[in-house]
């Protein structure tokens, strides 16, 4: 097991105190690709930032996130600096803003090697050019010598992924790598992820088709809760949680099925209880209580519909029966 996230919660101390992430557990094995899907504001990006220690100071993070046996949540800065960038790397949202407009892309891709492995600039850039060729960013060395403004969104995103693995990271955490890209450019990003044969990936996305293409397992988040977690195939073909079901039915390829009930702003959710209840077709009295994470047919699902179902047992904190 490479990354083991156990009961991570994030609360922001400002204002009313927003609960951004509640008790999320998931695991990522070596070379495994896991996607977290959910709508804007579901807390999926915050979870990634919490694991990486990149949240502002008013965020209160609880729980544990073991990376190769060491808890990143409690790690000291010096120790974090040793693993971030070399062992675990981050591809931020909006790749265009992640690149420095005043430096060539080739140099920026090479920078983790220069910084962490103390390799000479020339050598590192040569390595970057090799990697950029592998990701089909450009076959010529000139492409690496260009500045970000000459790149398309898809090229920038792939350059960011190259930057993520150049220093030999075993794991990439990516935040919405396809946001704002059109179909052809999404295809390029899919190819780049497919070529990450030796790395594990934890990727946040709202694009279910992209998740289907790249992931082994998928975790679904809704309003700060993890509502379902299963292998990608299982989850997309036999979704159990009503939210997952509604989401899949609403995809254009499934006929844009309309469901009553609307997404809400953060402050409108009641404390406790199932967060999806106000929109749920199956909502019943019981849903005012917070549902436990259940293990049903190889899925983990947080829904009262499945209590008492055959094969169900309360999932242990970190158990994942895939």
């Amino acid at each position: 097991m490479l990354l083991d996230v156990k009961n991570v919660s994030v609360r922001f101390a400002s204002g009313h105190g927003v609960q951004a992430v509640e008790n999320v557990s998931l695991t990522v094995n070596k070379k495994e690709k896991v996607c977290i899907v959910g709508e804007t504001g579901s807390g999926k990006s915050i979870l990634l930032l919490a694991i990486l220690h990149l949240l502002p100071e008013n965020a209160i993070v609880t729980g544990e996130a073991f990376f190769e046996g060491e808890d990143m949540i409690r790690m000291k800065r010096r120790q974090l600096d040793k693993i971030r960038g070399t062992r675990i790397s981050y591809v931020p949202q909006g790749s265009g803003n992640g690149l420095n407009p005043l430096l060539t892309v080739g140099f920026q891709v090479a920078e983790p090697m220069i910084e962490h492995q103390k390799i000479g600039k020339k050598e590192a850039i040569a390595e970057a050019v090799k990697l950029m060729k592998r990701f089909h960013i450009g076959d010529e060395e000139e492409v690496a010598a260009q500045y970000p403004f000459t790149y398309s969104g898809g090229m920038k995103q792939r350059a960011m992924i190259a930057m993520g693995i150049i220093a030999g990271a075993d794991m990439i955490l990516a935040d919405e790598p396809t946001k704002g890209l059109d179909e052809e450019r999404i295809e390029m990003v899919v190819d780049a992820f497919h070529s990450l044969k030796d790395q594990a990936v934890l990727c946040v996305t709202h694009d279910l088709n992209f998740a289907r293409e790249i992931s082994d397992s998928i975790s679904v988040m809704y309003a700060s809760n993890q509502v379902e977690y299963a292998s990608a195939k299982e989850l997309l073909e036999h979704p159990l949680h009503p939210y997952t079901q509604d989401m899949i039915a609403a995809m254009p390829e499934n006929g844009l099925h309309f469901s009553e009930g609307f997404a809400m702003a953060h402050e409108d959710y009641a404390e406790g209880g199932c967060k999806y209840a106000p929109r749920c077709r199956f909502c019943k009295e019981k849903c005012k209580e917070t549902p436990p994470m259940l293990e049903v047919e190889g899925h983990q699902v947080r829904c009262w519909l499945y209590t008492g179902k055959e094969g169900e047992r309360h999932a242990s904190d970190n158990g994942k029966a895939l």
Binding site: G38, E39, T40, G41, G153, G180, L181, D182, E183, E184, R185, H206, L208, D246, M247, A249, A250, M251, P252, E253, G255, L256, H257, F258, S259, G261, F262, A263, M264, A265, E267
Partner: protein, 226 residues
């Protein structure tokens, strides 16, 4: 035909001398029938938004004509026509003044149409979009993307448009909100025979929603067989 464009083009001159002009849209011919949804499909930078914005008059065309119910349009649009051709933008969060509570932005079209702009009248219109009184007194920052786009749609419909340019209206929304916006658009079309120009980069979405599709690439637009 409700609206036709004839050889509609937009060229941008390069600042450097001797460089060729850049054609954002070149001789685009599109026909939008009454009460139908026409798709304009293309990757980013293909010129699809340029065409939409030329039709509403946000961008001045370099050449070509636009005919509305057989009459040549002259821009800027004036009077009734300006209300009849509307646009719904991609980013709902920038469609509203961020400093004002939603209700202040919502009353504008009511005043323009000399309709009753009381809170009660607005509520009666927005309820079908899943918006309630509490939403009206929030600023755009306190509302979700789905809520804002539904409010933007409700606001556009007050003007009783005959044609709405939908410029990627769902690309920033989650799948469930996307299906809801499409559902409301289709319901409204059934009731009012409104025509839509649906601009998108999503092939599957275009196929599901549109009656006819035009494909645009590097400014060149062709009609696609369905």
């Amino acid at each position: 035909m409700l609206l036709t464009t004839e050889k509609l083009s937009k060229a941008y001159k390069s600042r450097k001398k001797g460089e060729p002009v850049f054609w954002a849209a070149k001789e685009v011919c599109v026909e939008i029938p009454e009460g139908k949804t026409v798709g304009l499909l293309g990757p980013s930078g293909s010129g699809k938004s340029t065409v939409g914005q030329m039709i509403v008059g946000l961008i001045e065309a370099s050449s070509g004509e636009i005919f509305y119910k057989g009459e040549r349009l002259s821009y800027p649009l004036k009077g009734e026509l300006r209300k009849k051709i509307q646009i719904l933008f991609q980013h709902p969060e920038v469609s509203f003044n961020p400093m004002l509570p939603l209700i202040r932005s919502m009353v504008e079209p009511y005043k323009l149409m000399k309709k009753d702009s009381s809170e009660k009248a607005i509520l009666a219109d927005i309820e079908r979009f899943g918006l309630h009184r509490e939403h009206l007194y929030r600023t755009p920052l306190e509302l979700s993307g789905g809520e804002l786009q539904r409010a933007a749609l409700a606001r556009v419909l007050v003007l009783e448009p005959e044609l709405i340019i939908l410029d990627e209206p769902t690309s920033m929304l989650d799948v469930i909100s996307q299906a809801q916006i499409v559902h409301f658009l289709q319901e409204y079309q059934k009731e009012h025979e409104t025509a839509y120009l649906f601009i998108t980069h999503n092939k599957v979405l275009a196929k599901t929603v549109c009656d006819e599709i035009y494909e645009i690439r590097e400014g060149i637009c062709t009609k696609k067989e369905m």
